[in-house]
Symmetry: C2
Subunit: 302 residues, 2 copies
Protein backbone atom coordinates (compact mmCIF):
# COMPACT_ATOMS: atom_id res chain seq x y z
CA UNK A 1 0.00 0.00 0.00
CA UNK A 2 1.44 3.40 -0.97
CA UNK A 3 2.29 6.03 1.63
CA UNK A 4 -0.53 8.24 0.34
CA UNK A 5 -3.04 5.40 0.76
CA UNK A 6 -1.75 4.45 4.21
CA UNK A 7 -2.02 8.04 5.29
CA UNK A 8 -5.47 8.41 3.75
CA UNK A 9 -6.71 5.38 5.69
CA UNK A 10 -5.18 6.64 8.93
CA UNK A 11 -6.70 10.10 8.45
CA UNK A 12 -10.12 8.61 7.80
CA UNK A 13 -9.72 6.49 10.95
CA UNK A 14 -9.06 9.44 13.25
CA UNK A 15 -11.50 11.66 11.36
CA UNK A 16 -9.23 14.61 10.53
CA UNK A 17 -5.96 15.47 8.74
CA UNK A 18 -4.10 17.10 11.64
CA UNK A 19 -0.46 16.08 12.13
CA UNK A 20 1.25 16.71 15.43
CA UNK A 21 4.69 18.25 15.07
CA UNK A 22 7.27 17.23 17.68
CA UNK A 23 9.67 20.16 18.14
CA UNK A 24 11.34 19.54 21.51
CA UNK A 25 13.02 22.94 21.77
CA UNK A 26 14.85 23.01 25.12
CA UNK A 27 13.73 26.55 25.95
CA UNK A 28 10.07 25.59 25.57
CA UNK A 29 10.01 22.31 27.49
CA UNK A 30 7.74 22.24 30.55
CA UNK A 31 9.36 22.69 33.96
CA UNK A 32 9.47 18.91 34.52
CA UNK A 33 12.26 18.88 31.93
CA UNK A 34 14.01 22.07 32.97
CA UNK A 35 17.24 20.41 34.14
CA UNK A 36 17.98 19.94 30.42
CA UNK A 37 18.36 23.73 30.17
CA UNK A 38 21.16 23.85 32.76
CA UNK A 39 24.43 25.03 31.26
CA UNK A 40 26.07 22.11 33.02
CA UNK A 41 23.81 19.51 31.41
CA UNK A 42 25.59 17.09 29.06
CA UNK A 43 24.31 16.19 25.60
CA UNK A 44 23.27 12.82 27.06
CA UNK A 45 21.22 14.47 29.84
CA UNK A 46 19.59 16.86 27.39
CA UNK A 47 18.82 14.11 24.91
CA UNK A 48 17.25 12.03 27.69
CA UNK A 49 14.88 14.88 28.58
CA UNK A 50 14.07 15.55 24.93
CA UNK A 51 13.29 11.88 24.51
CA UNK A 52 11.13 11.73 27.64
CA UNK A 53 9.14 14.80 26.58
CA UNK A 54 8.69 13.46 23.04
CA UNK A 55 7.58 10.07 24.40
CA UNK A 56 4.92 11.65 26.60
CA UNK A 57 3.75 13.87 23.74
CA UNK A 58 3.40 10.77 21.56
CA UNK A 59 1.29 9.18 24.28
CA UNK A 60 -1.00 12.22 24.07
CA UNK A 61 -1.14 11.88 20.27
CA UNK A 62 -1.68 8.12 20.09
CA UNK A 63 -5.06 7.28 18.58
CA UNK A 64 -5.84 10.99 18.18
CA UNK A 65 -3.82 11.82 15.03
CA UNK A 66 -2.76 9.90 11.93
CA UNK A 67 0.85 10.98 12.00
CA UNK A 68 3.51 12.84 13.93
CA UNK A 69 6.28 14.99 12.49
CA UNK A 70 9.45 15.05 14.60
CA UNK A 71 11.79 17.92 13.69
CA UNK A 72 15.32 16.49 13.35
CA UNK A 73 17.13 19.71 14.28
CA UNK A 74 15.89 19.62 17.88
CA UNK A 75 17.38 16.14 18.23
CA UNK A 76 20.58 16.65 16.19
CA UNK A 77 21.48 19.62 18.35
CA UNK A 78 22.39 17.08 21.05
CA UNK A 79 24.72 15.10 18.76
CA UNK A 80 24.68 11.31 18.63
CA UNK A 81 22.78 11.17 21.93
CA UNK A 82 20.12 13.35 20.30
CA UNK A 83 20.04 11.11 17.24
CA UNK A 84 19.47 8.15 19.55
CA UNK A 85 16.55 10.08 21.07
CA UNK A 86 15.25 10.66 17.53
CA UNK A 87 15.42 6.91 16.86
CA UNK A 88 13.57 6.12 20.06
CA UNK A 89 10.95 8.76 19.25
CA UNK A 90 10.35 7.29 15.79
CA UNK A 91 10.16 3.79 17.29
CA UNK A 92 7.68 4.84 19.99
CA UNK A 93 5.43 6.54 17.43
CA UNK A 94 5.51 3.39 15.29
CA UNK A 95 4.71 1.26 18.37
CA UNK A 96 1.58 3.37 18.79
CA UNK A 97 0.59 2.87 15.15
CA UNK A 98 1.36 6.45 14.21
CA UNK A 99 2.87 7.29 10.83
CA UNK A 100 6.10 9.26 11.12
CA UNK A 101 7.03 12.17 8.85
CA UNK A 102 10.68 12.95 9.56
CA UNK A 103 11.12 16.69 9.14
CA UNK A 104 14.72 16.50 7.98
CA UNK A 105 14.68 18.75 4.87
CA UNK A 106 17.60 16.88 3.31
CA UNK A 107 18.93 17.40 -0.19
CA UNK A 108 22.31 16.82 -1.85
CA UNK A 109 23.97 15.77 -5.12
CA UNK A 110 22.67 12.46 -6.53
CA UNK A 111 25.04 9.93 -4.92
CA UNK A 112 24.72 11.64 -1.54
CA UNK A 113 20.95 12.09 -1.88
CA UNK A 114 20.81 8.34 -2.41
CA UNK A 115 22.50 7.88 0.98
CA UNK A 116 19.98 10.23 2.63
CA UNK A 117 17.07 8.41 0.94
CA UNK A 118 18.42 5.10 2.23
CA UNK A 119 19.08 6.59 5.65
CA UNK A 120 15.54 7.82 6.25
CA UNK A 121 13.26 5.87 3.89
CA UNK A 122 14.68 2.38 3.34
CA UNK A 123 14.38 -0.70 5.50
CA UNK A 124 13.34 -0.76 9.12
CA UNK A 125 16.29 0.70 11.02
CA UNK A 126 15.09 2.68 14.05
CA UNK A 127 15.62 6.10 12.42
CA UNK A 128 13.67 5.18 9.27
CA UNK A 129 10.46 7.17 8.74
CA UNK A 130 7.31 6.66 6.66
CA UNK A 131 8.01 9.92 4.86
CA UNK A 132 10.47 12.81 5.07
CA UNK A 133 10.64 16.42 3.94
CA UNK A 134 13.24 17.20 1.24
CA UNK A 135 14.74 20.36 -0.31
CA UNK A 136 14.53 20.68 -4.13
CA UNK A 137 17.24 23.34 -4.68
CA UNK A 138 19.70 20.88 -6.24
CA UNK A 139 17.36 19.86 -9.06
CA UNK A 140 15.83 16.81 -10.69
CA UNK A 141 18.73 14.32 -10.62
CA UNK A 142 19.32 15.10 -6.94
CA UNK A 143 15.64 14.47 -6.17
CA UNK A 144 15.45 11.20 -8.10
CA UNK A 145 16.87 8.96 -5.32
CA UNK A 146 14.07 10.15 -3.03
CA UNK A 147 11.45 9.52 -5.73
CA UNK A 148 12.87 6.05 -6.29
CA UNK A 149 12.44 5.38 -2.57
CA UNK A 150 8.69 6.14 -2.90
CA UNK A 151 7.88 4.32 -6.13
CA UNK A 152 6.34 0.91 -5.54
CA UNK A 153 6.99 1.18 -1.79
CA UNK A 154 4.98 2.39 1.20
CA UNK A 155 7.20 5.46 1.73
CA UNK A 156 6.73 9.10 0.81
CA UNK A 157 8.38 12.51 0.57
CA UNK A 158 7.21 16.09 0.90
CA UNK A 159 9.21 18.45 -1.31
CA UNK A 160 9.60 22.03 -0.09
CA UNK A 161 7.71 24.21 -2.56
CA UNK A 162 6.63 27.35 -0.68
CA UNK A 163 7.75 27.52 2.93
CA UNK A 164 5.83 29.21 5.76
CA UNK A 165 8.52 31.63 7.00
CA UNK A 166 7.98 35.38 6.46
CA UNK A 167 10.88 35.94 4.02
CA UNK A 168 10.48 32.77 1.97
CA UNK A 169 9.54 34.79 -1.14
CA UNK A 170 13.13 35.99 -1.68
CA UNK A 171 14.10 33.01 -3.82
CA UNK A 172 10.87 30.99 -3.96
CA UNK A 173 9.01 33.79 -5.79
CA UNK A 174 11.93 34.74 -8.04
CA UNK A 175 11.25 34.87 -11.77
CA UNK A 176 8.16 34.78 -13.94
CA UNK A 177 6.60 32.30 -13.43
CA UNK A 178 7.84 32.34 -9.84
CA UNK A 179 10.23 29.57 -8.86
CA UNK A 180 7.66 28.01 -6.52
CA UNK A 181 5.39 27.35 -9.52
CA UNK A 182 8.24 25.81 -11.50
CA UNK A 183 9.05 23.58 -8.52
CA UNK A 184 5.33 22.80 -8.18
CA UNK A 185 5.15 21.67 -11.83
CA UNK A 186 8.18 19.44 -11.27
CA UNK A 187 6.71 17.96 -8.09
CA UNK A 188 3.44 17.28 -9.88
CA UNK A 189 5.29 15.46 -12.68
CA UNK A 190 7.59 13.62 -10.27
CA UNK A 191 4.52 12.34 -8.42
CA UNK A 192 2.85 10.73 -11.41
CA UNK A 193 4.62 7.42 -10.85
CA UNK A 194 3.41 7.18 -7.24
CA UNK A 195 -0.31 7.94 -7.33
CA UNK A 196 -2.27 5.75 -4.94
CA UNK A 197 -5.85 4.49 -4.95
CA UNK A 198 -6.88 7.59 -3.00
CA UNK A 199 -5.99 9.63 -6.08
CA UNK A 200 -3.02 11.39 -4.48
CA UNK A 201 0.68 10.84 -4.90
CA UNK A 202 3.20 9.79 -2.27
CA UNK A 203 5.41 12.55 -3.64
CA UNK A 204 3.95 15.44 -1.68
CA UNK A 205 4.64 19.16 -1.30
CA UNK A 206 5.27 21.45 1.65
CA UNK A 207 3.24 24.62 1.15
CA UNK A 208 3.02 27.12 3.99
CA UNK A 209 -0.57 27.78 5.01
CA UNK A 210 0.55 31.35 5.70
CA UNK A 211 0.42 32.16 1.96
CA UNK A 212 -3.31 31.80 1.22
CA UNK A 213 -3.29 33.03 -2.39
CA UNK A 214 -0.26 30.96 -3.37
CA UNK A 215 -1.87 27.96 -1.72
CA UNK A 216 -4.86 28.12 -4.10
CA UNK A 217 -2.61 28.69 -7.11
CA UNK A 218 -0.28 25.86 -6.15
CA UNK A 219 -3.18 23.45 -5.54
CA UNK A 220 -4.27 24.06 -9.17
CA UNK A 221 -0.76 23.28 -10.43
CA UNK A 222 -0.46 20.16 -8.25
CA UNK A 223 -3.96 18.60 -8.36
CA UNK A 224 -2.82 15.12 -7.26
CA UNK A 225 -0.10 16.09 -4.82
CA UNK A 226 -0.43 15.47 -1.11
CA UNK A 227 0.11 18.81 0.68
CA UNK A 228 1.81 19.22 4.02
CA UNK A 229 0.74 22.58 5.42
CA UNK A 230 2.81 24.12 8.20
CA UNK A 231 2.10 27.56 9.60
CA UNK A 232 -1.29 26.98 11.23
CA UNK A 233 -1.55 28.29 14.79
CA UNK A 234 1.68 29.83 16.10
CA UNK A 235 2.68 31.10 12.65
CA UNK A 236 -0.67 32.81 12.04
CA UNK A 237 -2.69 30.78 9.50
CA UNK A 238 -6.15 29.46 10.41
CA UNK A 239 -7.71 26.11 9.63
CA UNK A 240 -10.12 27.90 7.29
CA UNK A 241 -7.16 29.21 5.29
CA UNK A 242 -6.27 25.62 4.46
CA UNK A 243 -9.61 24.51 3.03
CA UNK A 244 -8.53 25.26 -0.54
CA UNK A 245 -5.89 22.52 -0.23
CA UNK A 246 -8.62 19.85 0.07
CA UNK A 247 -10.04 19.50 -3.45
CA UNK A 248 -12.24 16.39 -3.12
CA UNK A 249 -15.71 17.42 -1.94
CA UNK A 250 -16.72 13.78 -1.47
CA UNK A 251 -13.75 13.19 0.83
CA UNK A 252 -13.23 16.57 2.46
CA UNK A 253 -10.37 15.31 4.70
CA UNK A 254 -8.38 14.06 1.71
CA UNK A 255 -5.34 15.53 -0.04
CA UNK A 256 -3.55 17.51 2.64
CA UNK A 257 -2.13 17.35 6.13
CA UNK A 258 -2.20 20.28 8.48
CA UNK A 259 0.67 20.46 10.93
CA UNK A 260 0.52 21.98 14.36
CA UNK A 261 3.55 21.77 16.63
CA UNK A 262 4.01 24.40 19.30
CA UNK A 263 0.34 25.37 19.60
CA UNK A 264 -0.29 21.91 21.04
CA UNK A 265 2.98 20.76 22.65
CA UNK A 266 3.55 24.08 24.37
CA UNK A 267 -0.07 25.00 25.10
CA UNK A 268 0.93 24.85 28.80
CA UNK A 269 2.51 28.29 28.36
CA UNK A 270 -0.84 30.01 27.71
CA UNK A 271 -2.42 31.78 30.71
CA UNK A 272 -5.71 29.85 30.42
CA UNK A 273 -3.76 26.63 31.03
CA UNK A 274 -2.03 27.81 34.20
CA UNK A 275 -3.92 25.25 36.32
CA UNK A 276 -3.38 22.35 33.95
CA UNK A 277 -0.46 19.95 33.65
CA UNK A 278 1.44 20.37 30.38
CA UNK A 279 0.00 17.10 29.10
CA UNK A 280 -3.57 18.09 29.93
CA UNK A 281 -2.96 21.44 28.25
CA UNK A 282 -1.67 19.63 25.15
CA UNK A 283 -4.63 17.23 25.21
CA UNK A 284 -7.12 20.10 25.41
CA UNK A 285 -5.33 22.10 22.71
CA UNK A 286 -5.28 19.06 20.45
CA UNK A 287 -9.02 18.59 20.92
CA UNK A 288 -9.77 22.24 20.22
CA UNK A 289 -7.51 22.31 17.14
CA UNK A 290 -9.08 19.15 15.75
CA UNK A 291 -12.61 20.50 16.32
CA UNK A 292 -11.74 23.78 14.58
CA UNK A 293 -10.22 21.92 11.67
CA UNK A 294 -13.19 19.58 11.30
CA UNK A 295 -15.53 22.57 11.32
CA UNK A 296 -13.41 24.42 8.75
CA UNK A 297 -13.44 21.39 6.45
CA UNK A 298 -17.17 20.83 6.88
CA UNK A 299 -16.74 17.43 8.52
CA UNK A 300 -19.58 16.31 10.78
CA UNK A 301 -18.77 16.52 14.51
CA UNK A 302 -17.20 13.36 15.96
CA UNK B 1 40.24 35.21 14.29
CA UNK B 2 37.53 34.75 11.67
CA UNK B 3 36.97 31.43 9.92
CA UNK B 4 38.14 32.96 6.63
CA UNK B 5 41.40 34.11 8.26
CA UNK B 6 41.98 30.81 10.03
CA UNK B 7 41.47 28.98 6.77
CA UNK B 8 43.70 31.43 4.90
CA UNK B 9 46.53 30.84 7.37
CA UNK B 10 46.10 27.07 7.20
CA UNK B 11 46.07 27.11 3.39
CA UNK B 12 49.23 29.20 3.32
CA UNK B 13 50.84 26.76 5.75
CA UNK B 14 50.24 23.69 3.60
CA UNK B 15 50.84 25.63 0.39
CA UNK B 16 47.59 24.88 -1.48
CA UNK B 17 43.81 25.23 -1.17
CA UNK B 18 42.84 21.56 -1.58
CA UNK B 19 40.25 20.20 0.86
CA UNK B 20 39.90 16.48 1.35
CA UNK B 21 36.30 15.28 1.28
CA UNK B 22 35.47 12.33 3.54
CA UNK B 23 32.64 10.37 1.88
CA UNK B 24 32.74 6.92 3.49
CA UNK B 25 30.30 5.27 1.10
CA UNK B 26 30.05 1.60 2.15
CA UNK B 27 30.18 0.30 -1.43
CA UNK B 28 33.47 2.07 -2.06
CA UNK B 29 35.36 1.20 1.12
CA UNK B 30 38.57 -0.84 0.62
CA UNK B 31 38.40 -4.58 1.25
CA UNK B 32 39.75 -4.16 4.80
CA UNK B 33 36.34 -2.71 5.64
CA UNK B 34 34.22 -5.04 3.55
CA UNK B 35 32.47 -6.72 6.49
CA UNK B 36 30.50 -3.45 6.78
CA UNK B 37 28.84 -4.34 3.47
CA UNK B 38 27.43 -7.62 4.75
CA UNK B 39 23.64 -7.63 4.83
CA UNK B 40 23.89 -9.02 8.36
CA UNK B 41 26.04 -6.14 9.63
CA UNK B 42 24.37 -3.97 12.27
CA UNK B 43 24.38 -0.17 12.19
CA UNK B 44 26.96 -0.29 14.99
CA UNK B 45 29.29 -2.58 13.00
CA UNK B 46 28.92 -0.43 9.90
CA UNK B 47 29.48 2.78 11.81
CA UNK B 48 32.63 1.30 13.39
CA UNK B 49 34.08 0.53 9.95
CA UNK B 50 33.09 3.94 8.58
CA UNK B 51 34.80 5.52 11.59
CA UNK B 52 37.95 3.41 11.20
CA UNK B 53 38.21 4.24 7.50
CA UNK B 54 37.64 7.95 8.14
CA UNK B 55 40.24 7.95 10.93
CA UNK B 56 42.88 6.41 8.68
CA UNK B 57 42.00 8.83 5.88
CA UNK B 58 42.44 11.73 8.31
CA UNK B 59 45.85 10.34 9.22
CA UNK B 60 46.74 10.50 5.51
CA UNK B 61 45.46 14.08 5.33
CA UNK B 62 47.09 15.39 8.51
CA UNK B 63 49.64 18.07 7.75
CA UNK B 64 48.93 17.75 4.03
CA UNK B 65 45.69 19.74 3.72
CA UNK B 66 44.16 22.71 5.55
CA UNK B 67 40.74 21.19 6.02
CA UNK B 68 38.63 18.09 5.61
CA UNK B 69 34.98 17.95 4.59
CA UNK B 70 33.09 14.98 6.04
CA UNK B 71 29.78 14.30 4.26
CA UNK B 72 27.09 13.83 6.93
CA UNK B 73 24.86 11.56 4.82
CA UNK B 74 27.38 8.72 4.84
CA UNK B 75 27.40 8.80 8.63
CA UNK B 76 23.67 9.48 9.21
CA UNK B 77 22.78 6.45 7.12
CA UNK B 78 23.92 4.37 10.11
CA UNK B 79 21.66 6.19 12.57
CA UNK B 80 22.87 7.30 15.99
CA UNK B 81 25.87 4.95 15.74
CA UNK B 82 26.78 6.73 12.52
CA UNK B 83 26.35 10.12 14.15
CA UNK B 84 28.74 8.96 16.90
CA UNK B 85 31.22 8.04 14.14
CA UNK B 86 30.72 11.54 12.69
CA UNK B 87 31.53 13.06 16.09
CA UNK B 88 34.66 10.95 16.44
CA UNK B 89 35.72 11.86 12.90
CA UNK B 90 35.33 15.59 13.59
CA UNK B 91 37.23 15.19 16.87
CA UNK B 92 40.09 13.27 15.24
CA UNK B 93 40.44 15.90 12.50
CA UNK B 94 40.55 18.61 15.16
CA UNK B 95 43.15 16.64 17.12
CA UNK B 96 45.31 16.73 13.99
CA UNK B 97 44.87 20.50 13.66
CA UNK B 98 42.68 20.18 10.59
CA UNK B 99 39.75 22.54 10.04
CA UNK B 100 36.46 20.71 9.57
CA UNK B 101 33.81 21.74 7.05
CA UNK B 102 30.71 19.70 7.87
CA UNK B 103 28.94 18.97 4.60
CA UNK B 104 25.45 18.89 6.09
CA UNK B 105 23.50 21.16 3.67
CA UNK B 106 20.98 22.09 6.35
CA UNK B 107 18.27 24.71 6.01
CA UNK B 108 14.91 25.26 7.71
CA UNK B 109 12.52 27.97 8.95
CA UNK B 110 14.16 30.52 11.28
CA UNK B 111 13.58 28.93 14.71
CA UNK B 112 14.66 25.53 13.42
CA UNK B 113 17.60 26.96 11.46
CA UNK B 114 18.74 28.45 14.76
CA UNK B 115 18.81 24.94 16.24
CA UNK B 116 20.86 23.65 13.28
CA UNK B 117 23.25 26.61 13.60
CA UNK B 118 23.70 25.85 17.29
CA UNK B 119 24.03 22.14 16.58
CA UNK B 120 26.90 22.43 14.12
CA UNK B 121 28.54 25.82 14.71
CA UNK B 122 28.22 26.76 18.40
CA UNK B 123 30.39 25.70 21.31
CA UNK B 124 32.73 22.75 21.35
CA UNK B 125 30.46 19.67 21.41
CA UNK B 126 32.08 16.81 19.47
CA UNK B 127 29.84 17.24 16.41
CA UNK B 128 30.57 20.98 16.10
CA UNK B 129 32.46 22.01 12.95
CA UNK B 130 34.48 25.04 11.92
CA UNK B 131 32.10 25.62 9.02
CA UNK B 132 29.13 23.88 7.41
CA UNK B 133 27.35 23.93 4.07
CA UNK B 134 23.79 25.33 4.08
CA UNK B 135 20.87 25.43 1.63
CA UNK B 136 19.42 28.89 0.82
CA UNK B 137 16.00 27.83 -0.57
CA UNK B 138 14.07 29.07 2.47
CA UNK B 139 15.28 32.65 2.14
CA UNK B 140 16.93 35.41 4.15
CA UNK B 141 15.28 35.04 7.55
CA UNK B 142 16.00 31.31 7.51
CA UNK B 143 19.67 31.98 6.70
CA UNK B 144 20.13 34.64 9.37
CA UNK B 145 20.75 32.23 12.29
CA UNK B 146 23.68 30.75 10.35
CA UNK B 147 25.05 34.23 9.56
CA UNK B 148 24.73 35.16 13.25
CA UNK B 149 26.81 32.10 14.09
CA UNK B 150 29.64 33.42 11.86
CA UNK B 151 29.64 37.08 12.83
CA UNK B 152 32.30 37.94 15.39
CA UNK B 153 33.18 34.25 15.83
CA UNK B 154 35.69 31.88 14.27
CA UNK B 155 33.00 29.86 12.42
CA UNK B 156 31.85 29.94 8.80
CA UNK B 157 29.21 28.74 6.33
CA UNK B 158 29.18 27.89 2.64
CA UNK B 159 25.82 28.65 1.04
CA UNK B 160 24.80 26.49 -1.92
CA UNK B 161 24.71 28.79 -4.94
CA UNK B 162 25.36 26.61 -8.01
CA UNK B 163 25.81 22.92 -7.32
CA UNK B 164 28.01 20.54 -9.29
CA UNK B 165 25.43 17.92 -10.26
CA UNK B 166 24.44 17.60 -13.97
CA UNK B 167 20.80 18.74 -13.60
CA UNK B 168 21.35 21.56 -11.12
CA UNK B 169 20.26 24.18 -13.66
CA UNK B 170 16.58 23.19 -13.39
CA UNK B 171 15.87 25.58 -10.52
CA UNK B 172 19.24 27.28 -10.00
CA UNK B 173 19.18 28.83 -13.49
CA UNK B 174 15.47 29.70 -13.43
CA UNK B 175 14.51 33.27 -14.25
CA UNK B 176 16.32 36.29 -15.65
CA UNK B 177 18.67 36.95 -13.97
CA UNK B 178 19.03 33.27 -13.10
CA UNK B 179 18.30 32.32 -9.50
CA UNK B 180 21.95 31.42 -8.84
CA UNK B 181 22.90 35.06 -9.51
CA UNK B 182 20.18 36.32 -7.19
CA UNK B 183 21.39 33.93 -4.51
CA UNK B 184 24.98 35.05 -5.23
CA UNK B 185 24.04 38.70 -4.69
CA UNK B 186 22.39 37.77 -1.40
CA UNK B 187 25.41 35.75 -0.28
CA UNK B 188 27.72 38.62 -1.16
CA UNK B 189 25.60 41.03 0.92
CA UNK B 190 25.20 38.56 3.80
CA UNK B 191 28.97 38.22 3.93
CA UNK B 192 29.75 41.90 4.38
CA UNK B 193 29.54 41.66 8.16
CA UNK B 194 32.09 38.83 8.31
CA UNK B 195 35.00 39.92 6.11
CA UNK B 196 38.35 38.96 7.61
CA UNK B 197 41.81 40.46 7.32
CA UNK B 198 42.48 38.24 4.32
CA UNK B 199 39.79 40.22 2.47
CA UNK B 200 37.34 37.34 2.22
CA UNK B 201 34.17 36.66 4.15
CA UNK B 202 33.41 33.70 6.41
CA UNK B 203 30.06 33.51 4.63
CA UNK B 204 31.15 31.47 1.64
CA UNK B 205 29.51 29.95 -1.42
CA UNK B 206 29.40 26.47 -2.92
CA UNK B 207 29.90 26.76 -6.68
CA UNK B 208 30.39 23.61 -8.71
CA UNK B 209 33.66 23.69 -10.65
CA UNK B 210 31.81 21.78 -13.37
CA UNK B 211 30.16 25.03 -14.57
CA UNK B 212 33.18 27.00 -15.80
CA UNK B 213 31.33 29.96 -17.32
CA UNK B 214 29.02 30.40 -14.36
CA UNK B 215 32.03 30.19 -12.08
CA UNK B 216 33.58 33.28 -13.68
CA UNK B 217 30.27 35.15 -13.65
CA UNK B 218 29.59 34.23 -10.03
CA UNK B 219 33.09 35.26 -8.93
CA UNK B 220 32.38 38.75 -10.33
CA UNK B 221 29.13 38.95 -8.36
CA UNK B 222 30.77 37.68 -5.15
CA UNK B 223 34.22 39.32 -5.14
CA UNK B 224 34.82 38.85 -1.40
CA UNK B 225 33.16 35.49 -0.93
CA UNK B 226 35.13 32.38 -0.08
CA UNK B 227 34.29 29.73 -2.69
CA UNK B 228 34.04 26.01 -2.02
CA UNK B 229 34.41 24.23 -5.35
CA UNK B 230 33.26 20.63 -5.60
CA UNK B 231 33.29 18.71 -8.85
CA UNK B 232 37.03 18.48 -9.49
CA UNK B 233 38.23 15.00 -10.39
CA UNK B 234 35.50 12.34 -10.34
CA UNK B 235 32.84 14.84 -11.50
CA UNK B 236 34.91 16.03 -14.46
CA UNK B 237 36.29 19.51 -13.71
CA UNK B 238 40.04 20.16 -13.78
CA UNK B 239 42.19 22.25 -11.45
CA UNK B 240 42.72 24.70 -14.31
CA UNK B 241 38.95 25.22 -14.55
CA UNK B 242 39.04 26.62 -11.01
CA UNK B 243 41.69 29.29 -11.50
CA UNK B 244 39.10 31.99 -12.15
CA UNK B 245 37.85 31.55 -8.57
CA UNK B 246 41.18 32.85 -7.20
CA UNK B 247 41.09 36.61 -7.85
CA UNK B 248 44.13 37.82 -5.86
CA UNK B 249 47.25 37.62 -8.05
CA UNK B 250 49.48 38.47 -5.09
CA UNK B 251 48.06 35.55 -3.11
CA UNK B 252 47.15 33.01 -5.78
CA UNK B 253 46.01 30.37 -3.23
CA UNK B 254 43.52 32.78 -1.64
CA UNK B 255 39.73 33.00 -1.97
CA UNK B 256 38.63 29.46 -2.76
CA UNK B 257 38.87 25.86 -1.65
CA UNK B 258 38.90 22.99 -4.08
CA UNK B 259 37.38 19.78 -2.81
CA UNK B 260 38.37 16.33 -3.86
CA UNK B 261 36.75 13.32 -2.21
CA UNK B 262 36.56 10.08 -4.12
CA UNK B 263 39.50 10.74 -6.42
CA UNK B 264 41.74 10.53 -3.37
CA UNK B 265 39.97 8.29 -0.83
CA UNK B 266 39.07 5.69 -3.43
CA UNK B 267 42.18 5.96 -5.63
CA UNK B 268 42.83 2.31 -4.68
CA UNK B 269 40.16 1.31 -7.22
CA UNK B 270 42.21 2.54 -10.20
CA UNK B 271 44.18 -0.11 -12.10
CA UNK B 272 47.50 1.72 -11.69
CA UNK B 273 47.14 1.36 -7.92
CA UNK B 274 46.56 -2.40 -7.94
CA UNK B 275 49.86 -3.05 -6.14
CA UNK B 276 49.39 -0.32 -3.53
CA UNK B 277 47.55 -0.40 -0.22
CA UNK B 278 44.49 1.85 -0.22
CA UNK B 279 46.28 4.33 2.02
CA UNK B 280 49.34 4.48 -0.18
CA UNK B 281 47.06 4.95 -3.19
CA UNK B 282 45.31 7.81 -1.37
CA UNK B 283 48.65 9.36 -0.37
CA UNK B 284 49.93 9.23 -3.95
CA UNK B 285 46.66 10.59 -5.36
CA UNK B 286 46.71 13.42 -2.83
CA UNK B 287 50.26 14.33 -3.83
CA UNK B 288 49.43 14.28 -7.54
CA UNK B 289 46.25 16.33 -7.06
CA UNK B 290 48.07 18.92 -4.97
CA UNK B 291 50.88 19.19 -7.53
CA UNK B 292 48.36 19.65 -10.37
CA UNK B 293 46.51 22.27 -8.40
CA UNK B 294 49.67 24.20 -7.51
CA UNK B 295 50.68 24.17 -11.18
CA UNK B 296 47.25 25.33 -12.29
CA UNK B 297 47.34 28.21 -9.81
CA UNK B 298 50.91 29.17 -10.74
CA UNK B 299 52.30 28.40 -7.30
CA UNK B 300 55.99 27.54 -7.16
CA UNK B 301 56.71 23.84 -6.62
CA UNK B 302 56.94 22.81 -2.95
Amino acid sequence: MSFADRLDAAVEDVGHPLVLGIDPHLDLLPKEFSTARSLQASNEERAAQVEAFSAQLIDVAAGQVAAVKPQAAFFEIHGSAGMKAFENTVARAHDHGLLVIGDVKRGDVPSTAKAYAQAYLAGDAPHVCDAITINPYLGADATQPFLDACQGTDRGVFVLVRTSNPESALFQEHGDPPLSEVVADAVSTWGNASIGECGFSSVGAVVGATHVEELARLRKRMPKTLFLLPGVGAQGASAADCKVAFPDSNHPWRGALINSSRGIAFAWQRPENAQRSWKDAARVALGVTVAELRRALGLTPC
